[in-house]
């Protein structure tokens, strides 16, 4: 009997979360250690799966299946391929670093980690799910704790507003997607939610064209697609650091991934029909998101809008519907996840010390926190798509795919890169260099070792993928090939 390793990954966080709730609330140290232990297990196993996945064989591996509600054809069905495996690893990484960053959180850490871990289980569950019902089930599990995490531990000024806005947006999105999913279920006549079976259901082209937008855009709301993106910067900003990391790093990928897995892969004809619209909207994401990021005065909002811009690139990659574009989108999901987690970690560290995020009031932080500045610069270079960093490795194939699909879009979207360079350089210059305002002089405490580990891990991954794309690109490409196969080998 083989070890059900994916199930262990999925359920470790939630089980740990429940166990943490059993620890008395004032034993904060034990709570944190338990959280750390759970995240190490999840990360270690994700890494193990990542390394032992047989790349030459490809396809879904580590598959587990158990009957869940047999009467409705619902099963617990998990497996990984080249598309979702990097995302599982990403979740492990963000979970681990998120726990490290939250070590200093002093307000009810027990409940905080419990909710965070329920969220993590939901995320893992969606990424590995091969059953539509299973996927949607974990999707809701992932969305709900977000409300509590932001509303309770968030930034006082906007937390209630942001939490409500985010939850409403995402629920509406998922309800719309659910309608589409039910339509698929009933039309297929297979009496099954098994996605691998539904892939072969041969839905009529008309049916696909009708329902594709509901499914795709329903999920893409969580991916931040324009014009449904505006919950995301508010949510990012209001959330506490570790939650922002999860939120931008992983949750937005959840939306994008589900839009790909359910929308594009199950309704390929619909995807072909609607791809021009997605291309158009996602181009707006890339360029408009970058422009809005440039005019923000709040450090955290800059990063929040940069996510809107970068997720646009993921959507662009999807909408190319070709091998290069999809490979790039897969890589971009991973790269952006790690990068934005790094960004929010840095923003959190600066905010914890300065108690302000107004860019005009900050300055000179590189002297007090050199490693933080360095990490932010690495993230910034990734974000600019600088060669030698993972952003380039991801964006380059996306643009290759765009040339094939729609050259005009490639040229317009490329503007986003220059604008990104401008706002990133502006933030680096204003926050980390220049002279430090007098009120901070001598008051900026250095970061602790746990923070250092988190930053080094995140930045190291970005550089590793950048200089040696072979650690990830071929894997993602095999996943993209699978999508291409469903699209009819286009």
């Amino acid at each position: 009997m083989t070890l059900p390793v994916l199930s262990i990954i999925v359920f470790t966080p939630i089980v740990a979360g429940m166990l943490i709730l059993l620890i008395p609330g004032d034993r904060k140290r034990e709570v944190r250690l338990a959280a750390l232990a759970a995240s190490v297990v999840a990360l270690g196993l994700s890494l193990w799966v990542y390394l032992t996945y047989d790349r030459s064989a490809g396809g879904y591996q580590f598959v587990e299946r158990a009957s869940w509600i047999p009467r409705l054809g619902i099963s617990y069905y998990v497996g990984v391929d080249g598309m979702n495996l990097p995302l599982v690893l990403l979740t492990g990484i963000v979970m681990f670093t998120g726990v490290l960053i939250s070590w200093g959180l002093d307000d009810r850490p027990r409940e905080f980690f419990a909710f965070l871990f329920i969220l993590a289980t939901g995320v893992f569950g969606v990424f590995v799910g091969l059953d539509l019902f299973h996927l949607l089930f974990f999707y809701e599990i992932a969305v709900f704790p977000m409300f509590l995490l932001i509303a309770i531990w968030g930034w006082q000024v906007t937390r209630e507003y942001a939490a409500m806005k985010l939850t409403l947006y995402l629920f509406i999105g998922s309800v719309v997607a659910l309608v589409g999913i039910l339509a698929m279920y009933f039309t297929s006549g297979l009496q099954s939610f098994d996605m691998l079976a539904l892939e072969q259901a041969n839905f009529a082209p008309d049916f696909q064209r009708t329902w594709f937008p509901m499914v795709f855009f329903g999920f893409a709301v969580l991916g931040g697609i324009f014009p449904f993106h505006n919950w995301s910067p508010d949510g990012h900003v209001a959330a506490p650091t570790a939650v922002s990391m999860f939120h931008a790093g992983v949750l937005m990928k959840l939306g994008a991934f589900a839009a790909l897995r359910v929308g594009i892969m199950l309704l390929p004809e619909g995807a072909k029909f609607w791809s021009p619209l997605i291309l158009g909207l996602a181009t707006v994401n890339v360029v408009y998101g970058a422009l809005i990021a440039m005019v923000q005065t709040d450090f955290k909002y800059v990063i929040g809008f940069s996510s809107v811009s970068h997720m646009g690139l993921v959507m662009l990659g999807f909408a190319t519907l070709n091998r290069d574009g999809l490979t790039g989108a897969g890589l971009q999901m991973f790269s952006h996840g790690v990068m934005t987690a790094l960004f929010f970690a840095v923003v959190g560290m600066v905010y914890d010390r300065a108690h302000t995020r107004e860019i005009s009031k900050l300055g000179g932080f590189s002297k007090a926190m050199p490693l933080v500045a360095l990490a932010f610069i690495v993230g910034g270079l990734v974000s600019m798509g600088m060669p030698g960093f993972s952003g380039f490795v991801a964006e380059f194939p996306i643009f290759l795919g765009l040339w094939r699909a729609q050259p005009i879009v490639a040229i317009i979207a490329a503007l986003g890169i220059v604008i990104t360079a401008a706002y990133i350089m502006r933030v680096i210059g204003r926050v980390f260099f220049g002279s430090m305002p007098a009120e901070f002089e001598g008051h900026i405490s250095p970061i602790n070792n746990l923070d250092r580990i988190a930053l080094v891990v995140l930045a190291g991954i970005l550089v590793l993928v950048g200089i040696q794309p072979a650690v990830m690109a071929p894997l993602v490409q095999s996943g993209a090939d699978n999508v291409i196969r469903l699209l009819g080998g286009a």
Binding site: G388, P397, F399, L400, R404, A410, A414
Partner: protein, 513 residues
């Protein structure tokens, strides 16, 4: 051992600086002396290997030598592919030579020395990568990587107006490389590979219209090539820089720390010119031929207007900065002539012109680096770059004065020194191809004399500015050590250019003969 060396020497040259940077970063920040020496000694490693490379390189063998190829980003068909020919090997030698000298002159940096030295070494890897890459994507990677350390060197260690200058430098270059990136993608798409050697044959032979999904008609291949051609030209033109894309240069050069200016003028400008020779001419021979007159015209404008601008400066460093526009104009003029003469009877003249252009790249590297070094020396002593604030300093700093005159003469093109050889060859080669341009360019040569002498006169001669009486303005021993190799090479190339021209010529003949 020799086997291992000859199959890996390029990787060693390319990667030893970045390994050295990592080493430097491991040292404690307070050990300034150790950091400086480590960085300097590390930078001698690529120099030693490139000298070995120079001796082992066989000019008679056609094609690229010391080729290395390994899988890199196989998902999109790009590989780690290195190699050198006569053009790139001289640029590699120039880069590895200038870096240790620039580090030597950086002893005066005493703020955050560790970061400075590490960035400098990373910069060296970026520059070497551009010259060594035989894969378009790798080329682009290094092209961009070099930008980042330079940005921070100017932004963090530059003088008063550094924020403006560094931002302008970055945005100009990135705007140029954006087009380059799109064009590289287009080429990769059309030819299915990024390997330069394969592309050179496939892409140029490509005659089918390029079908792009989503467009109603297939793009005529001529249009595609013309778009890609202009994207390449623009990126390289900004880097060289060709008039009117040069305005970032005086700012960046003036604000950069001395060693940064040395590398900027000595090597970074050559990246653009190298791009013309390595990519634009071989990949777009027809487009280049039809637009050669534009390129030639801009080159002449750069020569003449660069010289006039330089003459008008009262800031010593700005004067030297504008002189780069003037001197690089000759390189571009040679390139334009080669583009124009392809397949005509004048090809033999074009070979002379390109030989001159490549040698001019090398020579300008020596003299511009030397001039910036000397400007840095006098600035450090006097804390001013204002030419009107100097005056009659020769008696106060006789050794410095002698070195300055020598270097300035090399820059001016005095026969017997290096600048004369290359400029003469360019002019000789271009004359039959672009007679009018060459004649107009001569005006620039005249003004070159005017601004060089203006600089010398204001600093060394004329009525003594009594303010400096009693100041120690003399050049230090370490600085003499840094400039001595440059002076030696200026003289050697001026008297006996054969040792380097032989290597360059063999490759140029094969490419353009």
């Amino acid at each position: 051992m020799t086997d291992f060396l000859s199959t890996h020497v390029l990787s060693i040259i390319l990667l030893s600086p970045v390994a050295g940077a990592a080493l430097v970063l491991l040292l404690p920040a307070s050990r300034v002396r150790a950091i400086r020496w480590t960085a300097f000694v590390v930078s001698l490693v690529p120099l030693a290997f490139s000298i070995w490379l120079w001796t082992a390189y066989d000019a008679a063998v056609p094609g690229y030598q010391f080729v290395e190829k390994a899988a890199w980003y196989s998902a999109i068909g790009s590989s780690y592919h290195l190699g050198v020919d006569g053009i790139s090997i001289s640029m590699v030698l120039l880069t590895t030579l200038l870096t240790p000298l620039a580090l030597l002159i950086s002893w005066s940096i005493d703020e955050r020395v560790r970061g400075y030295m590490a960035l400098f070494l990373m910069l060296e890897t970026g520059m070497l990568g551009v010259f060594l890459s035989l894969d378009l994507l790798m080329f682009f990677v290094f092209w961009e990587i070099g930008l980042v350390p330079m940005y921070f060197l100017i932004n963090q260690w530059g003088s008063a107006n550094r924020n403006y200058a560094s931002f302008k430098f970055l945005i100009y270059t990135m705007a140029g490389s954006l087009g380059l990136l799109l064009a590289i993608q287009l080429i990769g798409l059309a030819s299915g590979t990024f390997d330069l050697v394969e592309i050179t044959s496939r892409w140029t032979a490509l005659n089918e219209p390029l079908t792009v999904l989503g467009l109603p008609v297939a793009l005529p291949i001529g249009t595609v090539k013309a778009i890609a051609f202009w994207a390449f030209v623009l990126a390289f033109a900004i880097k060289v820089p060709i008039w009117p894309f040069h305005t970032w240069l005086p700012d960046a050069h003036t604000e950069a720390p001395t060693a940064g200016s040395m590398i900027l003028a000595g090597v970074l400008l050559k990246l653009g010119a190298y791009g013309f020779l390595r990519f634009v001419l071989p990949l777009y021979p027809e487009q280049a031929q039809s637009f050669a007159w534009v390129l030639g015209l801009l080159a002449v404008l750069a020569i003449v207007l660069g010289a006039f601008s330089s003459w008008a400066q009262d800031d010593f460093k700005r004067l030297v900065a504008y002189s780069s526009v003037n001197h690089m104009g000759f390189v571009v003029l040679g390139v334009a002539a080669a583009a124009q003469a392809r397949g005509t009877l004048a090809a033999a003249d074009a070979v002379i012109a390109v030989n001159g252009a490549v040698l001019q790249m090398f020579n300008h590297g020596l003299s511009a680096a030397g001039m910036f070094l000397l400007v840095g020396v006098i600035y450090e002593r006097t804390h001013t770059r204002d030419l009107t604030a100097y005056g009659g300093l020769f008696p106060l700093a006789p050794v410095y004065g002698g070195i300055l005159i020598f270097t300035a003469m090399a820059s001016l093109g005095l026969p017997g020194l290096n600048g004369f050889v290359s400029e003469f060859m360019v002019v000789r080669g271009v004359w039959p191809i672009f007679t009018v341009y060459t004649a107009v360019g001569m005006i620039g040569l005249l003004i070159t004399g005017a601004y060089v002498l203006k600089g010398l006169g204001k600093v060394l001669h004329g009525p003594r500015n009594e303010k400096w009486q009693g100041h120690d303005l003399e050049i230090r021993r370490r600085e003499i050590v840094a400039i001595a190799p440059l002076m030696a090479l200026m003289l050697v190339i001026g008297v006996w250019p054969g040792w380097i021209l032989g290597v360059i010529n063999a490759t140029v003949l094969r490419l353009f003969g």
